[in-house]
């Protein structure tokens, strides 16, 4: 079903972090950007669709105005809004937002770090754009920061802080079907597997809470009103977002899941875990009849590698890319 294509070499290896690969397709320029985090550096590669041109850029997590300070990055993700695309980088010290090519930093938000080290780590993790003008980023305290992003310029402001989670945020996702018919358009997940379902707006509205079973939810997606969640136990669960009804449960992987992705036009689902496997599934969701089906399509095994990132490169799921801990390449697969 899929075959391996030529890998993209990285300047350094990928770190073991959840959702450690982000992809942005820029159709007008026939380019695709990839970002992979290595410790305190974001590796960016820009590839032309004809496969002939590659260019690399590295962004280091540094607070502005502090000469030597660096901090470990937890996640780097592209946020595609109708008016603009931004690259958001979340670290131990705060949140940085760049123009999508990484050329200019347009915004910096510092996390409240206590004077003396506390018993709990402080960091930002979990990044998603939602509706027309918001970017949400999670924090280790369980808070979700909502930033209001104007259509251009650097006048980004912190609009709201959502405080429903008690454990560190792991991942955040927005409704990606493209349809406006779904009430819920945001889901946030935490270390305990608890999930909150929201409706965005000037004031975000909490629609539902789906309790976790003390199993970390490391990666989450929202498609056609259905929450797709990947867990540390290797399970994938499908929930109806607004009601919390469990539609399906898959014993998908033998180890901790690190990444889930959806191709919204075709309903293909990608799951990747520490067990070296990437799996492709097909989802059929008919909201009218409340029917949800998931079928397994394909496996890829990346030998001797704990996978930390897997993303489709396009909305149909024609191609996908994979990163692994200690691996200095982005492995690509294309439909046969």
């Amino acid at each position: 079903m899929f075959h391996k294509e030529k890998s993209i070499q990285l300047k350094n290896s990928a770190s073991a972090l959840y959702n450690n690969l982000s992809v942005l397709r820029i159709a007008p320029r026939r380019l695709t950007y990839f970002t992979v985090v290595h410790a305190n550096v974001v590796n960016m590669v820009s590839t032309s669709w004809d496969g002939l041109n590659y260019s690399h850029r590295q962004l280091q997590s540094k607070e502005p105005n502090v000469a030597t300070s660096t901090s470990l990055i937890m996640q780097a993700a592209f946020c595609a809004l109708p008016s603009r695309d931004l690259l958001v980088v979340s670290s131990q010290k705060g949140i940085q937002m760049y123009e999508s090519d990484g050329s200019i930093m347009v915004y910096w938000h510092a996390l409240d770090t206590p004077e003396a080290p506390t018993a709990h780590a402080v960091f930002a993790r979990g990044i998603s754009a939602v509706s027309d003008n918001y970017i949400c980023v999670g924090v280790s305290s369980g808070a979700v920061l909502v930033f209001d992003v104007p259509s251009k310029g650097s006048n980004i402001t912190l609009s709201e802080v959502l405080e429903e989670h008690k454990e560190a945020i792991t991942d955040i996702a927005s409704e990606c079907s493209g349809s406006q018919e779904f009430l819920a358009n945001l889901v946030t997940a935490d270390d305990g597997g608890n999930m909150c379902v929201w409706k965005s707006g000037e004031e975000f509205q909490l629609l539902n809470k789906i309790p976790g079973l003390d199993m970390t939810c490391s990666s989450v997606k929202l498609w056609k009103g259905t929450v797709l969640a990947g867990y540390g136990t290797g399970q994938i669960r499908l929930y109806e977002a607004v009601t919390g009804i469990l539609h399906a449960e898959v014993n998908a992987h033998a180890r901790w899941i690190y990444s889930l992705d959806i191709a919204p036009f075709s309903g293909l689902l990608l799951s990747a875990a520490e067990d070296s496997f990437v799996r492709v599934w097909h989802l059929s969701i008919t909201p009218e009849t409340n029917s949800v089906e998931i079928a397994h399509l394909h496996n890829e095994c990346v030998t001797d590698t704990q996978i930390c990132g897997a993303k489709f490169c396009d909305g149909d799921g024609y191609a996908f890319a994979v990163t692994g801990y200690d691996l200095s390449e982005i492995i690509r697969y294309v439909q046969s």
């Binding site: 270390d191 067990d275 079928a295």
Partner: protein, 331 residues
């Protein structure tokens, strides 16, 4: 990232150090006559192990490590571990310490990477603690220190959630990233490839609490199962073999963290450790000239500088590692 890594790092790296030192000192034991300089007797070996374990598990050292803090750099880690080794009558020159550090790091990387669940890092640490106990079972005072440390570890870490353990593991993996030193005993046992990367099996028992992959279940709105199907998982998995004991004693079930160097008969591995032994063999305190005392204090000064630089870089207000090193001086 995680502020709880240091105690586990030292227990595991220190534990690996004990295995390697024990193995090499046994090999060096060619004479019963303890008066012959440069030869290591059974009594010397036990003394070295008791001294190292005693320092590693001293209350002040452990209390310092247990404070929430960021992980040290490799440079600081190596310095502190060198001081640990030198708390005994043994002396290691930089070349032998470098090699010892590489072996320790690769063993630890293997254990962290292959840990079935993040929480199993504790079982790996407990395997090291069990071994340390065995080394000092004839010295009640030191044995007591190990037990005390074990109790504190249980107290601190049993509160962490699985998600926090994974963060801890991810922090360790970042620290251990890009190190691919080839180790003979790993190559021989086929747990490491010639490329330096570790072998990850896609077969065997799944971790405790994980189901064997291959099942899809669907439910109706009332939660009743309405469909079941299977898919090929690609690997050959079997059910979990159960969870090891997280108590002070008991069957840990997991073998990661146990001594890999015991009964080492492979010539290649022996040669590698022989080199280390030759370097170590000529360095026994007492048979070493006074110039080395100067070298030791120079080391202390330099180590202090490392941690100062580090403190400026990472923590303007702190003296991370300084207190630790100073305390080791007092031991």
């Amino acid at each position: 990232m995680s502020v709880r890594t240091l105690p586990l790092v030292f227990i595991n790296l220190g534990g690996e150090m004990l295995y390697i030192l024990d193995q090499r000192l046994r090999a060096l034991n060619t004479s019963e006559d303890q008066s012959e300089t440069g030869v290591w007797s059974e009594r010397d070996r036990k003394r070295v192990l008791n001294d190292v374990v005693g320092t590693m598990f001293s209350k002040s050292f452990m209390d310092e490590l247990l404070k929430p803090q960021q992980l040290y750099s490799h440079r600081t880690m190596k310095t502190v571990l060198t001081r640990l080794a030198h708390s005994s009558i043994m002396r290691l020159n930089p070349a032998s310490m470098d090699r010892l550090y590489e072996l320790m790091i690769m063993a630890f990387k293997y254990q962290v990477l292959l840990s079935p669940r993040p929480r199993d890092l504790l079982l790996i640490s407990y395997n090291h603690l069990d071994a340390a106990r065995a080394f000092v079972r004839d010295t009640p005072a030191v044995l007591n220190q190990v037990d005390e440390t074990h109790r504190k570890i249980i107290e601190v870490y049993s509160r962490l959630s699985d998600g926090e353990f994974q963060l801890l593991r991810q922090t360790l993996l970042t620290f251990l990233q890009d190190v691919h030193t080839r180790v003979s005993v790993f190559l021989k046992n086929q747990i490491q490839n010639p490329s330096g990367r570790f072998v990850l099996m896609t077969s065997g028992p799944v971790p405790a609490g994980v189901d064997v992959p291959g099942l899809i279940r669907t439910f109706d709105p009332r939660g009743r199962e309405v469909g079941r199907s299977e898919f090929p998982p690609g690997g050959t998995y079997s059910g979990s073999v159960g969870e090891g004991s997280f108590e002070l004693s008991g069957d840990r079930v997991l073998r990661l963290g146990q001594n890999l160097y015991q009964a080492e008969t492979n010539p290649l591995a022996k040669e590698e450790l022989n080199l280390l032994a030759r370097l170590m063999g000529c360095m026994k305190a007492g048979s070493v000239p006074a110039a080395d005392e100067e070298a030791a204090s120079a080391l202390a000064r330099i180590a202090g500088q490392f941690t100062d630089e580090e403190a400026e870089l990472e923590n303007p207000s702190g003296s991370k590692g300084d207190d630790l090193l100073a305390m080791m001086d007092d031991l």
